[in-house]
């Protein structure tokens, strides 16, 4: 079970990122718990400069732009 957080103020790219992660997780049959963080103060605690950011099990793995399918698969498996 991976705990995934998508950091972003709720713009289109952030929504797409969260959706894509869910899709890939379903395809790979990986169990995840996805949480969207929209509160700026909480987002800034992760010290990222651009959103959307992706945090997996407490580790920032991505910041800025929608990640590619290959990247997500890489994180999940």
């Amino acid at each position: 079970m991976k705990e995934i957080k998508v950091l972003g103020s709720g713009c289109a790219n952030c929504k797409n990122t969260a959706q894509l992660i869910e899709t890939v997780a379903r395809e790979q049959q990986v169990e995840i718990q996805l949480e969207k963080i929209t509160d700026m103060q909480k987002i800034m605690a992760y010290q990222i400069l651009s959103t959307p950011g992706v945090v997996i099990d407490g580790q920032v793995v991505h910041a800025g732009g929608v990640p590619s399918r290959a990247q997500i698969t890489n994180w999940l498996t």
Binding site: S9, N13, M40, Q41, M44, L49, T51, G65
Partner: protein
């Protein structure tokens, strides 16, 4: 089967010799650009329409302008994607940290043009810059230049109005970002940051030099084309279609009575109308095209465009999370006055 093999082979060649492949790509692009005029004429000649008629003129305009602007856009976005890969936000922040004078404002504005930026990242970027010791005014120079002076706006201005207009827009946009940021810095308004922002820990950053293989930069260019041109092309087509229809049909001076050069209040009104609107450079182009084709003065229209991009109300609401009202009002006032000045300069020069 052979086609599949040759695609694989050319892929392998691009991976082995990325710089040579880029050179070839540029040559092919230039060749395509050269064939645009004969191609569009040939295409229109095929159609059973009279070239001298309004309709013929509109079709000709559309058949030439659409591929031209899309080709320009693809080329510039690709190159900018490669350039962007050298200027990550983290690197830009490290370059700016601790620099104080107006030269730093200039650097920030310049870096704003070449650093990849999405308006929804404005807040994290803003805070991240301040945390690392980038002065408030310098941060503002970056935040003003980044959305306003972008490659899409420049390409469209170049494609539709020529290089002089694009160069003037670039120069005046950078000047506005530098002067506005410098002024905000001089006013020492740090106390008008929200308390939680001021309470954030400062961090030290250093310039990282990671070697990225050139092929990755090419791939980032291709991704930029895919992301940006894939999204923007429909606005461009709509804009040119509007332009073509107006080109052929609507009398040219319809808008002149509202936004023409001799109406002195046109520029401030254009800026005011632009504030509640929220769209990016690409979305505003169809409107710009339509206004201009109907005889509105270029300065008024560009002031409107800058106001839509740089002073949007929704963006102010986002900034409100980190700035207290006096600072937001100062920001709007300074940038607003700057845009109005730019509008008048354009109207006076062109």
């Amino acid at each position: 089967m052979t086609a599949a093999v040759s695609i694989n082979q050319s892929h392998a060649i691009v991976f082995r010799f990325p710089k040579t492949a880029l050179g070839f790509g540029i040559l092919i692009w230039l060749g395509l650009y050269q064939t645009l005029t004969p191609l569009s004429e040939w295409l229109v000649a095929l159609l059973p329409i009279n070239r001298a008629s309004h309709f013929g003129g509109a079709v000709q305009f559309f058949c030439y302008e659409t591929p031209k602007v899309l080709l320009l856009l693809t080329g510039v976005v690709f190159i900018m994607g490669i350039v962007n890969s050298y200027f990550t936000p983290e690197r830009t922040r490290a370059l700016l940290a601790g620099r104080m004078n107006i030269i730093a404002n200039g650097m920030a504005a310049g870096l704003g043009v070449v650093t990849p930026f999405c308006s929804c990242s404005a807040i994290p970027l803003f805070i991240g810059f301040l945390q690392a010791g980038v002065p408030l005014g310098v941060t503002f120079s970056f935040l003003i230049a980044a959305p306003m002076v972008n490659e899409i706006a420049l390409v469209l201005l170049f494609g539709l109005f020529g290089w002089q207009v694009a160069a003037l827009y670039l120069t005046l946009g950078l000047t506005l970002a530098i002067v506005a940021g410098w002024l905000i810095g001089r006013l020492h308004m740090e106390r008008y940051l929200e308390d939680w922002v001021r309470a954030m820990q400062t961090i030290t950053v250093s310039i990282e030099t990671t070697r990225v293989p050139f092929i990755h930069r090419l791939q980032m260019g291709a991704k930029a084309v895919n992301d940006i041109v894939g999204k923007v092309w429909r606005y461009v087509v709509i804009g040119i279609l509007l332009g073509a229809l107006i080109h052929g049909y609507v009398p040219a001076d319809l808008m002149a009575s509202f936004l023409g050069e001799e109406i002195w209040w046109a520029v401030p009104v254009a800026v005011l109308i632009g504030i509640p609107m929220y769209t990016n450079a690409a979305g505003v182009i169809p409107i710009v095209q339509a206004l201009l084709a109907k005889g509105a003065a270029l300065g008024s229209v560009l002031a409107f465009m800058m106001s839509v991009i740089a002073l949007s109300l929704p963006e102010m609401l986002i900034l409100r999370k980190v700035l207290k009202p006096p600072l937001i009002i100062t920001f709007i006032a300074i940038v607003g006055c700057g845009i109005i000045a730019i509008g008048y300069i354009f109207n006076a020069l062109l």
